[in-house]
């Protein structure tokens, strides 16, 4: 204990990192992640690496139709992520996007089934929008109300709201099932197309356009409006908010109305514009994926565009691979998971730097600050690669990696 031992390395928080460098770190992480995914794919399928990449591209961009579908799915994922963002900025962990989208979709489907062909299409469309936004907003506002009044943990309350929504949808799918006993609704108004959203250009373009508009809208809302500022203050400290004359409860509920409403709107797009039916799995888990998209993009709407595209690209690619090899479709989720782990992990190297101890501390003179910074950066890259290698062998190595870190703290 008393003899002099220096830790192998220690970790220091960075003051800041230039944006270009941040992007570099993230790009490296994504590149390493893709390489790891490729290796995993090669191992499980026995394909050669080149054909893995070819298949991935074929899956996402193989034909005109596939490109449109990729873009459309990206738009939907992006929209949900955007919807969740104001809530996250407020540190309100809304993981109820799934349920809010479903309820929105249910409202649209209900309008289409009950009122289809009975009222003119534009009126029906308007009614669909209003009702789905309303129901989505309601689904978001209930946990918000609990949070505002009693500080009920929103992560779990929104989660429960998801399952309640799923069961309500399950109830109605049987209630409206066509044909009787099939347990599903089928395409609504297939013959008349009543209530189907109009098409701009082709049937994929509408959600894409909407997502671009909403991206800009949310960016402006968060950055330049009073509401955006209030959300940021409430997220940091409710007491400060009160001090500044902001009522936190009001802001929480208002923001969740917006968040839920937008999710409900996405549900309407899914039902009225894309699937023309409703099932309990219509969201396909995107409510959860969107949480990660929003967070990985550091709540920046424009970065979210890129992140959603990346995730959709990979999952389409993975599904192409699994189809061509006769494997299970869940392969995509594994790939998404691996990519996410790397992007999550790489944030560390943006916020902290790892300084390795030189062998002879006495010999190191106080170098100029700039020089020190540089060595820090070099060393930051190195563990990045290590972390990369670590996860290749199906997470065998993190153990070694962590014991290293562990040792730093042990005496």
């Amino acid at each position: 204990m008393n003899e002099k031992k220096n830790p192998l390395f220690h970790i220091v928080k960075r003051k800041s990192m230039p944006l270009s460098k941040q992007m570099m770190v993230r790009l490296i992480a994504v590149a390493v992640a893709i390489a790891v995914c490729a290796i995993v794919t090669v191992i499980t399928t026995g394909m050669n690496p080149l054909s893995v990449f070819a298949a991935t591209f074929r899956g996402a961009f193989g034909s005109g139709r596939k490109i449109w579908i990729t873009l459309q799915d990206t738009a939907i994922l992006l929209l949900i992520a955007l919807a969740l963002t104001p809530a996250f900025k407020m540190k309100f962990w809304n993981i109820g996007g799934e349920g809010q989208v479903l309820m929105g979709g249910l409202a649209s489907a209900a309008c289409m089934i009950v009122l289809g062909d009975k009222i003119p299409d534009p009126v029906l469309n308007l009614l669909m929008i209003v009702s789905s936004v309303f129901l989505g907003a309601l689904w978001g506002a209930i946990p918000a109300l609990f949070k505002a009044k009693w500080k009920t943990n929103e992560t779990l309350s929104t989660l429960m709201m998801n399952y309640i929504a799923i069961q309500i949808v399950a109830f109605f799918t049987i209630y409206w099932e066509v044909p009787k006993g099939s347990g599903k609704i089928g395409i609504i108004n297939q013959s008349t197309n009543a209530g189907w959203l109009m098409q701009i250009g082709n049937k994929y373009l509408l959600p894409i356009l909407i997502s671009v508009i909403v991206t800009v809208g949310i960016y402006v809302y968060m950055k330049y409006t009073k509401h955006g500022y209030e959300i940021a203050v409430v997220g940091e400290s409710e007491r400060t908010a009160r001090y500044a004359g902001i009522r936190p409860g009001k802001v929480i509920i208002r923001t969740m109305l917006l968040s839920g409403g937008l999710c409900g709107f996405v549900g309407m797009l899914l039902v009225g514009g894309i699937h023309h039916t409703i099932t309990t799995t219509i969201t396909g888990g995107q409510g959860f994926t969107a949480v990660m998209v929003s967070w990985l993009a550091q709540f920046n709407p424009f970065t979210m565009m890129g992140v959603s595209l990346l995730i959709i690209f990979l999952s389409h690619g993975a599904s192409e691979i699994s189809t061509s090899c006769g494997l299970n479709q869940s392969f995509g989720e594994i790939i998404t998971g691996i990519i996410l782990f790397f992007i999550i992990g790489c944030e560390f190297f943006i916020q902290y730097k790892v300084i390795f101890r030189k062998k002879e501390t006495e010999n190191t003179k106080e170098g100029p600050a700039g020089q020190k910074e540089e060595t820090g950066q070099d060393s930051a890259e190195k563990p990045e690669n290590e972390a990369g290698n670590a996860k290749e062998d199906s997470e065998e190595k993190p153990e070694n990696e962590t014991t290293q870190v562990d040792e730093e703290v042990k005496s």
């Binding site: 204990m1 830790p7 003051k15 009073k226 500022y229 400290s237 001090y243 500044a244 004359g245 042990k410």
Partner: protein
């Protein structure tokens, strides 16, 4: 190793308790202290050798060498951000030095965690207490020790320690039920329980009343006479004089020098600390044309549990005058100010704001927003700077917006609000966007005018040191040209130089005709600064006296017992 140290300590303590004849008058006590120090002076407890530590590109400590001897109390003095706490944290194993080495008992050691520090007999009582709220005192004390869990045995041992040094602590009390002073006692018991020989106290008196501080000092002397080495970090000069044997001074991360306390005088120490001559006088001009601005009538405020924090308080604050509020901490000052600013609703009573034309507005049922919308320029510097007054993770510019984001807001805007309030409020509501440019300019002005030390106005305020945080907050509150300015413990935790800058700012506000309500804890300053002093005791007014000619003993007495209703 830990065990051995403990045994050694127990032996030494076995003979120690009978020493304590130092309850006599101060002078005698001092003499005793000095004598016993000289006996053990020669033994080095700690030696820092060329210690450096960087945060980002800033040196928090640069090439510091310093010695601590057994059986002495060393006061470590320095402005905010001078690196005192950083240096001590390296001794306690919280940080690891970038360069240099530390020797304990003459042996070079590597302290890589608090555990290492403790096993070397080094314990630190942090400024922000490191206690687990939901655990009891005993559980906190034995936290981190090895062996089987035996609460009973631990309790007995804690009582023994308490008896030896004269503490009072209930081992079964949960931390969240404790007062600040009790929590501190638990912290000290915690390190003593581990048989610590070197004790670091980081601003221990910052949150204590004078009486509590006095009690703490007695304990510290007892420990010193037990042969322990003690480092105390403080800002309060009279404490340095009162308690320490030796003073070491840091400035901007560098070691400036040291001297025996006997040879030091406050002005000299201050100059060494700041690096230039500083004037320690507070100017107090006679109020010009004071007129009632805030009239509080029969105010009663309950806390969440329904206990009265303020009962039947009435007073008037005049423009162009500083009204000091004195009182033991926690006797209603916070509630009073929060009530005036609209954050807390009272049970009954009124708070009137008096306009220039002598019309009165009752603020009691208005929230801060409504007060602002009525065009009443009321500024409040709360006690909890980062938890209430500012948003820690936002930069200086964004924090400037906190009060004004609704206007988009320059001073002209606020003046306009006064002219046509209703229309302006409506216009404000209709305008969804904020103005980010004006606050940026304001931030720049505040940084320049008040000498805020910061890399840029885009730095999150939580990265600034305490004094600079306070300057940002006070700067913002003053920028709206308030008619009423309330400050709660405006200089708490600030070094001498920053404190005097703040006093200066407050005085300037007074001169420009603002009604200032100043809640303070340092009676010397209160008496020097205030035109009138309102003394609170247990939530009641025990008297309002003239600041000129008031004496400290009189106020001190009124703080603890209901004094006469003089000078009202």
């Amino acid at each position: 190793m830990c065990c051995r140290l403990f045994e050694r300590r127990m032996l030494r303590e076995g003979e120690a308790p009978q020493k304590g004849t130092f309850w006599g008058p101060g002078r005698k006590r001092k003499k005793l202290r000095r004598e016993s120090r000289d006996q053990e002076m020669s033994e080095t407890a700690i030696e820092f050798k060329n210690i450096s530590k960087q945060f980002g590109n800033v040196y928090a400590n640069k090439n510091i060498s310093l010695k601590l001897y057994k059986g002495e109390i060393l006061a470590l003095l320095g402005e905010n951000g001078s690196g005192k706490t950083t240096l001590m944290n390296m001794l306690a194993g919280i940080y690891y030095p970038d360069e240099g080495s530390i020797a304990v008992d003459g042996k070079e050691v590597s302290i890589r965690s608090p555990k290492d520090a403790l096993s070397l007999g080094i314990g630190m009582v942090h400024q922000h207490f490191k206690l687990v709220d939901v655990l009891t005192a005993t559980e906190n004390v034995i936290l981190g020790l090895p062996g089987k869990l035996n609460i009973k045995e631990a309790e007995t041992k804690i009582r023994e320690i308490c008896d030896r040094y004269g503490f009072v602590v209930d081992p079964n009390k949960k931390i969240y039920d404790m007062t600040v002073s009790e929590k501190q006692t638990v912290e000290i018991v915690k390190v003593l329980y581990r048989g610590v020989n070197i004790l670091i106290l980081d601003e221990p008196t910052a949150v204590l009343t004078p009486q509590e501080a006095e009690r703490l000092f007695r304990v510290i002397w007892r420990m010193r006479n037990d042969g322990k080495a003690i480092i105390i970090i403080t800002h309060k000069m009279h404490e340095v004089k009162e308690i320490s044997d030796r003073v070491a001074i840091l400035r901007k991360g560098e070691y400036i020098g040291e001297m025996a306390t006997e040879d030091a005088d406050i002005q000299e120490l201050t100059n060494m600390m700041v690096g230039r001559a500083v004037s320690l006088n507070i100017e107090r001009k006679t109020p010009v044309n004071p007129k009632p601005k805030i009239e509080v009538e029969h105010l009663t405020i309950l806390d969440e549990e329904g206990v009265a924090k303020i009962s039947d308080v009435s007073f008037t604050a005049n423009s162009g005058e500083i009204l000091g509020i004195a009182g033991i901490s926690g006797c209603g000052q916070k509630e009073l100010l929060e009530c005036i600013s609209g954050l807390v609703k009272p049970l009954n009573g009124h708070v009137y704001y008096v306009e220039e034309d002598e019309s009165r507005t009752d603020l009691v049922n208005l929230n801060p927003l409504q007060i602002q919308q009525k065009g009443i320029a009321l500024s409040f510097v709360p006690e909890d700077r980062l938890g209430m007054g500012l948003v820690g993770s936002m930069d200086i510019a964004d924090n400037m917006m906190l009060r004004s984001f609704r206007y988009g807001a320059t001073q002209q805007d606020i003046d306009r609000v006064n002219k046509s309030r209703f229309l302006e409020n409506l216009k404000q509501k209709m305008q969804p966007f904020t103005d980010r440019k004006t606050p940026r300019n304001l931030a720049q002005t505040v940084v320049e005018d008040l000498n805020v030390v910061t890399p840029s106005i885009n730095t999150p305020v939580s990265n600034l040191s305490g004094g600079n945080v306070q300057k940002v907050l006070v700067g913002r509150e003053i920028a709206s040209h308030p008619k009423v300015l309330m400050t709660a413990y405006a200089v708490r935790g600030l070094d001498i130089n920053s404190s005097y800058q703040i006093y200066d700012l407050i005085n300037k506000q007074k001169e420009s005709g603002t009604a200032v309500i100043y809640v303070g804890e340092d009676l010397d300053v209160l008496l020097e600064l205030s035109d009138r002093i309102l003394v609170l005791c247990g939530g009641r007014v025990s008297g309002i006296i003239d600041g000129r000619g008031a004496n400290k003993e009189e106020v001190g007495l009124m703080m603890t017992s209901m004094g006469g209703e003089q000078g009202k």
